[in-house]
Symmetry: C2
Subunit: 134 residues, 2 copies
């Protein structure tokens, strides 16, 4: 099973621009068909999945590239440990982000309810941000 740029972008909920950008900077490997068009296979999809998760951790593309370079080096205890530490750090970052995102979602729930109260006429419109609660 192979995919075009368009299909690949849809699979990962991103844009064709981004996919091309990743291939151009050699972050995402791809082959070409007779017409020089990019084609992606399952292996590329696995790379892309990894990229997506690491980007969601907030990891810069340059660092992801370095990590993938490590993954493709000959295996050694040192190399393995280095990769382990990278993943451990990114796991930490991911949990931090998740907690922050949860707090934001909770606050927005509160905020929306507040607006609904105002709209229902139960409380006055006090939405000027200078008056927002702590």
């Amino acid at each position: 099973m192979t995919y075009t740029v368009k299909e690949f972008a849809q699979m990962f909920h991103t844009t064709e621009h981004t996919i091309r950008y990743y291939t151009d900077i050699n972050l995402l490997p791809c082959k070409r068909d007779e017409g020089n068009r990019r084609i992606f296979d399952e292996a590329a999809a696995n790379w892309m999945r990894g990229i997506t998760y690491l980007r969601n951790c907030g990891m810069p593309v340059k660092d992801i590239k370095k990590y993938f370079d490590l993954c493709q080096l000959e295996e050694s205890e040192e190399n393995l440990l280095a990769r382990y530490q990278i993943i451990a750090r990114q796991r930490e970052a991911a949990h931090k982000k998740a907690a922050e995102a949860k707090a934001t979602a909770d606050y927005m729930d509160f905020k929306l309810k507040h607006y609904e109260e105002i709209l229902a006429g139960h409380i006055p419109d006090d939405t000027n941000p200078a008056n927002w609660p702590d």
Copy 2:
């Protein structure tokens, strides 16, 4: 109670650069002392809290500015409804982000455990991203 740029940045876990940037683009209001230095008060802190949450929703600073402009306009049913809809949309975005961040954190947990298994010698090193599981 008033705050300097440095204090304000620390309060919101950001950088002085960012605080100055926000004041420069008139997103965050601030006064000046006799020495022309920025000073922030509780009202500014409330603004900044709002900015922080809305940024965490993924809202662009330009849109946040527009929202704050609405907040400071004369009150009307139309205005109120417009603000309500903005907040509703951002609440949606926040929940989406939170779910995504949770999924990422879960995946990174799995990934780290996988590495720990490898380090413990229970399974071989199969970390080449081309072999990552679906």
